[in-house]
């Protein structure tokens, strides 16, 4: 295994559905510590790209590699977390119970624990409230808490800013930057032209 291989490596990556091209060809590399903004209009294939990167969708055209090897669903398991439009929270369970399940399934990042993570995202006092009673923004925060807790390297955030207030947006940026600083990588999709991330993030521009 070459130490130099980037975390993610895509060349001429295309995706077609029913013989119609959804996006592509795309070329990009993502290394540890990178924050990449995936930009594009509605229907430009941002979510599809994210699902390809999880390994749930199968690559038909082009190359997509994870650490120098073709990306397959078996290899992404445990390395990648995905936060999509569906947050992966059980509405009948409390945020704390949801985190306990995630912890059981995927493990816990060193130095993190469920209660501390919930405080960090601003859900202190809501630990035992069923998720169905939380507001849309609070649900999003509960889902972000899961990303902090589990030890995956690559974060795939599909439209993470939706439903969030100014503080929430700052929280996402803070979490993503902290993740990059400790050697993780994050892909963040957004249909807006405004980049909420500070500095000058790398951009993948999606076009059909």
């Amino acid at each position: 295994m070459t130490a130099e291989a980037p975390l993610l490596h895509a060349r001429a990556l295309c995706f077609s559905r029913q013989e119609e091209q959804v996006f592509g060809p795309l070329d990009f590399d993502v290394a540890a510590g990178d924050i990449v903004l995936v930009e594009g209009d509605n229907g430009s294939g941002k979510t599809t790209l994210m699902r390809l990167l999880t390994g749930i969708l199968h690559v038909d055209e082009g190359t997509l590699e994870l650490e120098g090897k073709p990306l397959r669903s078996i290899d992404t398991a445990g390395r990648v977390v995905f936060l999509g439009h569906q947050l992966g929270l059980k509405a009948d369970l409390s945020p704390l119970e949801n985190l306990r399940v995630a912890e059981g399934l995927a493990g816990r990042r060193d130095g993190m624990d469920a209660m501390a993570v919930l405080r960090e995202v601003g859900l202190a006092g809501y630990e035992d409230e069923p998720v169905r009673r939380l507001s849309a923004g609070q649900k999003k925060r509960a889902a972000l808490a899961r990303l902090m807790l589990v030890p995956a390297t690559i974060w795939l955030l599909d439209e993470p800013y939706a439903n969030l207030d100014r503080d929430g947006i700052a929280l996402v940026n803070r979490l993503v930057q902290a993740h990059a600083a400790r050697g993780g990588a994050a892909l963040v999709s957004s249909h807006g032209t405004v980049t909420f991330l500070g500095g000058e993030p790398r951009v993948i521009r999606m076009h059909a």
Binding site: K90, D92, L93
Partner: protein, 227 residues
Amino acid sequence: MTATAGAACAALLRRDLLLAWRRRGDIAMPVLYALIVTTLFPFALGPEDALLQRIAGGVILVTVLLAMLLALDAMFRGDIEDGSLEQLLLAPQPLALMLAIRIFAHWITTALPLIIISPLLAGMLHLPTPVIGVLVVALLLATPLLSLIGAILVALTAGTRRSGMLLALMLLPLCVPVVIFAAGAVAAAQQGLPWVAPIAWLGAALVLAVVLAPLACAAALRIALDA
């Protein structure tokens, strides 16, 4: 700290049972359905003891099968709708093992209550007491088989919108042998014939299914979500 398979299984099982407990009204639905169907039979056929006794085993088996079919559709529905299924796919555990736990939890919450009330249903149809024991054993082997086979089919329909009737159509050919052997055991016991052979066949099929069905279910789920 990485998660062990054991911890993952425990977390998942705990989650499913907790969810079922928070919505315990749903558990009662298949049981109620089975009770209603069994009650209707004497009204339709007349309360003649000999006739009811003769059909009791078959009626209860088919009723349990249909009640399970009603609940089958929901096996992965919730997980797909709230995105939990993607988490399960991305967890660093073998998907087949995780699905085996899901199927087991589903069996506990849907089939086990039906098995528990099956002596009551059998009593309503005047099944002789010694035969009730055989019926319960047959159900204990047949219902997990149906859950396992059903799980594969539900996984295949995971990417579709409507699946209720389709699921019944797909399940029918696969459940024929299960029904035959389970009902065969009860019928044999009722006629005073040895009933161990069909029970042994069911047991053998169950062992095979426990090993193979979760693998097939995982493969089916990956196919159904790949679009």
